[in-house]
């Protein structure tokens, strides 16, 4: 089960509302490389994992991703607060506003709603962990692009934190995959699929 903490993982105080920034940062809420997909990917993959180490790392990183989802939502919420309809329109947020006002809808910057097709849950240890490493790199690359597009220091401070977490998670998934692979028959690691059938 999960227990909620009324607490962000990292403090967020954005002084200047600016819906222009919210328009593309929302991709890390519900886009293909975003935090909703990250948490669903890891928290779903863990059920078929054969070792306690793999169940552990997927649970712990998947849970952290939920806190990142909350952080990205907080960024958007603070960027879109107290805006007049004229400001919403001038800042190009009108196409989102018309359906969702200033609430949080999980979508990509392009407007495409979140889709489970953006996550892989194969039930194969090597395929899933390799997917997770790629996912961390894709999220890191998306945060790189946000840093290239965004000029608000209050926002970028938070984005740099989130970006660095992707680097750390990549390392941990790599270590977890190393350890899992060591336990397989190394003469042909793909012949042994420890997730199915269970020995």
């Amino acid at each position: 089960m999960f227990v909620y903490e009324k607490k962000l993982q990292y403090p967020i105080r954005i002084a200047r509302p600016n819906a222009k920034l919210a328009k593309f940062i929302i991709s890390q809420y519900g886009g293909p490389n975003g935090e909703l997909g990250a948490s669903m990917r890891y928290l779903s993959q863990r059920f078929a994992m054969p070792t306690n180490e793999l169940k552990g790392i997927l649970t712990d990183i998947g849970t952290e991703e939920l806190s990142h989802l909350e952080m990205v939502g907080t960024i958007i919420h603070q960027l879109t607060r107290n805006l007049t309809p004229e400001q919403i329109q001038a800042q190009g947020f009108d196409t989102y506003f018309v359906d969702h006002t200033v609430s949080m809808f999980p979508q990509a910057a392009s407007g495409e709603p979140w889709n489970a097709i953006s996550i892989g849950v194969s039930g194969d240890v090597i395929a899933d962990l390799t997917e997770d490493m790629a996912a961390e790199q894709k999220a890191r690359a998306t945060y790189d692009n946000i840093l290239r597009l965004c000029d608000d220091p209050d926002v970028n401070n938070v984005i740099r934190f989130l970006r660095e977490r992707e680097v750390v998670h990549f390392q941990r998934f790599g270590e977890a995959l190393n350890k899992a692979t060591e336990k397989l028959d190394q003469s042909n690691v793909y012949f042994m699929n420890p997730a199915y059938p269970r020995n």
């Binding site: 009324k6 607490k7 962000l8 967020i12 105080r13 790392i57 977890a176």
Partner: protein
């Protein structure tokens, strides 16, 4: 699972270490060897990692500090403990790191109690310190910075 580790068998062309007889077609992320050196918790939070070796920013721009909110100190300790716990997930036998982890957990517990007594509950279980049901009144995380000091 078959234990076919290189130490048990003569080195073949699919087991062993680079360069002569590597296990091919597998990933190779160099494992972190040690939980030391570490940043102090406030710097770890600002940088997004407890470990200088993993601190790989875009360009040369790094966070010097975090927004000043009443919870920042507690966030830093909780974050340091969390990042160390991910390290422990892949290094569960590192007893030195585990001792540091336990110290951080104790600090986090004390910090949590101090915060809760001043600003209200973070978790439902913190209501054990309350004289009324004040779960709804303590600051919500997405609101601007939460409550300032009274």
């Amino acid at each position: 699972m078959t234990d076919n580790s290189p130490s048990r068998e003569p080195c073949g062309h699919k087991c062993g270490m680079l360069p002569s007889c590597a296990p091919l077609a597998t990933t190779l992320v160099p494992p972190q060897t040690d939980a030391d050196p570490r940043y102090e918790p406030p710097k770890a939070l600002a940088r997004g990692t407890l470990f200088p070796g993993l601190d790989l920013p875009l360009g040369n721009i790094v966070n010097q500090d975090t927004a000043d909110v009443p919870m920042a100190e507690l966030m830093a300790i909780d974050f340091a403990a969390h990042d160390l716990s991910l390290y422990l997930d892949t290094h569960p036998t590192d007893m030195e790191a585990f001792a540091v982890y336990k110290d951080l957990l104790r600090l986090a517990e004390e910090g949590n109690r101090r915060y809760v007594q001043r600003y209200g509950p973070i978790c439902k279980k913190d209501l054990v310190y309350s004289d009324k049901y004040n779960w709804l009144n303590s600051p919500w995380p997405w609101d601007m910075g939460g409550r300032r000091e009274a």
